[in-house]
Amino acid sequence: MDYFVNVTITGLTQGMIYSAFALALVLIWRSTRIVNFAQGSMAAATTFIALALIQAGASYWVALIVALVSGFVLGAVIERVIIRPVEGGPELNAVIVTLGLFVAIQALIAIIFGSSFQSFPTPFGVRGFELGDTTIPLTPTNLYVIAAVLVTMALLVALFRFTRIGLAMRASAFSQEVARLLGVKVGGMLTLGWGLAAVVGSLSGLLIAGGTFVYPAYMDSLIVFGFVAAIIGGLDSPVGAIVGGLILGLALSYVSGYAPRGSALVTISALVILIGVLLVRPGGLFSSSTARRA
């Protein structure tokens, strides 16, 4: 029984990490209709900026803020300089460009920060809470991740649902021409969308890194799981990203914990889950996109 509880909690905390990354993917999809494969590398880049600051003596929170700001700048600059020229062409062009960025940014990180494996601090503890004489594998760091992801999700939902900027961003992403006719400054909205998505990506990068190890490619395995989580959730729903991440985290933890040689089956299971969900609901669990597609 204890074992079941432990595997479940491990799965939920791991799932929250997938959710964090899935949220960033959802945000950029909603605001620009581009699937950004470079998201992981961009998050890794800002995480390394934060790590450099922490190593130079700055506090975690200062480093966090600097990472988020540099994430915004990085996202906006990439949109203006690299993505803008291919926007409006075939959809695939921008996606392929992000794939190229993914590799290029990772190489840049290795050149600037080195490729060694380093621990990344967390402002909270990494020991599990004790309940009586048992310890549950839920650490203060886990709680911080969960809280940060939920707050971010709430802010995103509010932004898209209750603000004019959110409406304008959705309109620009949905149909640039129509939005322009309605007086929306589409270019600015796209830049803003990339910037905000990169902020959320940076946050997820830092949350994922906290209390564990980073190296230039540390986001690689999470990118795959983050994508699966986002697609299970429907790719355009922040709530879906969270639910998708939790479902995936739980399922993979049970596979890893109960199947024979489970650790080896984890990656394959992610694919099986993805296909299963898409067979039942082709748009993902929380999708509303089929009705809104321009």
Partner: protein, 440 residues
């Protein structure tokens, strides 16, 4: 691609002296000739693959810097038969597909004379057939898998170097049976030959004490379910056959689970400096003790940097100071230097004008007699290409370790474990061996 290119390092010193052939190193009367691929009158080219980046790179990426430092100092002192050693190593990111690619480059493009110290079981497995088919000597593979040495007919060009994982497992198993007969033992294993060989060795002695065997897949960094399973099975003694980053991950996960068994990490995963370095930044959080590994058990087959009065460490420290790069002497650099030392013995034994076949013959014929930093002798012969078969058992204390059981030696299969009765060797002048050429 730029990363790969940047990580490709060629170590050569500016040609030393030159021309002045008379009275070079050990004996030799004739002239130096370009006797085989990769050998010129003035140089010998060796190649290797290591994970210089990625999840397996901590620690391992330092090995080639130790090899390079040793060869640089050797070259300053005249090299081997007045040939300088050129050591070319490339990054395979611990990815077998990359290993194939860089090994192809080394053999076909760089035209190395021999491979030395290629690192990793899954990675080197991908190229062992190619190297043997091409007739490239594949010396001193940096992995304790049995496959480099237990069947010389299948892989005539390959040789192991460090204690193989099965022999290590046997020595660990015997120790637990003697010293911890009531322990309930859990195994934390890498899900490949590394874990399997270790498990088969350990089960020869304590099969009935083992309550759980959990396997992790390299690359999957969530080991929560595996550690939770060991805890649920009631294991109070955990033996890990895992790489260093997974030592750190298993320690972190155990903290979250409040799990505190006696740990025993096999040699590969136990470097206290490296693992401590990975974990220490968390001490800013709530890990109060940076030395999480304090009290854990491990094995040893080479002197370690904390043994400052060991004469090999003294010499290696001098070499690192004189010929090394940035940073401190670490156990991984000692490992690289020790391999370079054995390689130098092999090249000397291969004679003034070495051929690839002559090199292999020489290691088979006289390699079992070589002395060096490694605690116990190599098992090289025509029938076995296994490296050393001896290990101590050590307890980690702070950043060092203290011996709890002296060197015991064994071999694969059901060979007995015996106490090693030889003397610890001392390094020759400048830690440069003087092996005689082996004449068929």
């Amino acid at each position: 691609m730029s990363v790969v290119a940047a990580a490709t390092v060629v170590s050569t010193l500016a040609a030393c002296g030159g021309g002045d052939d008379g009275g070079g190193s050990s004996g030799g009367s004739g002239e130096n000739e370009a006797s085989d691929t990769g050998v010129t009158e003035t140089s010998i080219k060796l190649g290797a693959h290591y994970p210089l980046t990625g999840v397996a790179s901590p620690g391992y990426s330092e090995i080639p810097t130790g090899v390079t430092a040793y060869f640089d100092c050797l070259n300053k002192a005249g090299g081997v038969y007045d040939r300088e050693i050129e050591f070319v190593y490339k990054d395979d990111t611990y990815n077998p597909a990359q290993t194939s690619q860089v090994t192809n480059e080394l053999v076909l493009n760089d035209e190395i004379f021999a491979m030395m110290s290629g690192l990793g079981t899954p990675t080197h497995s991908a190229v062992v057939d190619f190297l043997n088919d091409e007739g490239v000597p594949d010396l001193f593979v940096s992995s304790g898998s049995l496959m480099w040495g237990d069947n010389p007919e299948e892989y005539p060009m390959s040789f192991g170097w460090q204690t193989d994982y099965e022999s290590e497992g046997k020595i660990i198993g015997e120790y637990i049976a003697n010293e911890f007969p009531d322990a309930k033992v859990g195994l934390f294993l890498q899900d490949d030959d590394f874990g399997e060989d270790g498990e088969s060795g350990i089960r020869q002695y304590i099969d009935d004490q083992i309550v759980a065997a959990e396997r992790y897949t390299p690359g999957n960094t969530n080991v929560g379910p595996q550690i939770a399973a060991l805890q649920a099975a009631g294991a109070d003694f955990v033996v890990g056959f895992n790489v260093p980053s997974y030592t750190a991950l298993s320690q972190l996960t155990s903290l979250a689970l409040g799990y505190d068994p006696q740990w025993f990490y096999s040699n590969v995963g136990s470097d206290p400096n490296l693992v401590g370095g990975l974990l220490n930044r968390f001490s800013e959080g709530k890990v109060t003790d940076a030395a999480l590994l304090d009290g854990a058990l491990t094995t040893g087959y080479l002197p370690t940097v904390d043994m400052t009065d060991n004469p090999w460490i003294t010499e290696f420290q001098r070499i690192w100071d004189e010929c090394g790069g940035e940073g401190e002497l670490t156990n991984y650099r000692v490992y690289g230097m020790s391999q370079a030392y054995t390689m130098t013995q092999a090249l000397q034994a291969a004679g003034q004008n070495p051929t690839r076949e002559g090199l292999v013959e020489a290691v088979e014929a006289v390699g079992g007699e070589w002395e060096g930093p490694v605690f116990a002798p190599f098992r090289y012969s025509e029938d076995s290409h296994m490296g050393t078969g001896g290990m101590t058992i050590e307890r980690i204390v702070g950043n060092g370790s203290e011996e709890v059981q002296p060197v015991r030696i064994t071999d694969i299969g059901d060979a007995e474990i015996e106490e090693f009765d030889g003397e610890a060797s001392t390094p020759p002048a400048n830690a440069i061996p003087e092996e005689e050429a082996y004449e068929g």
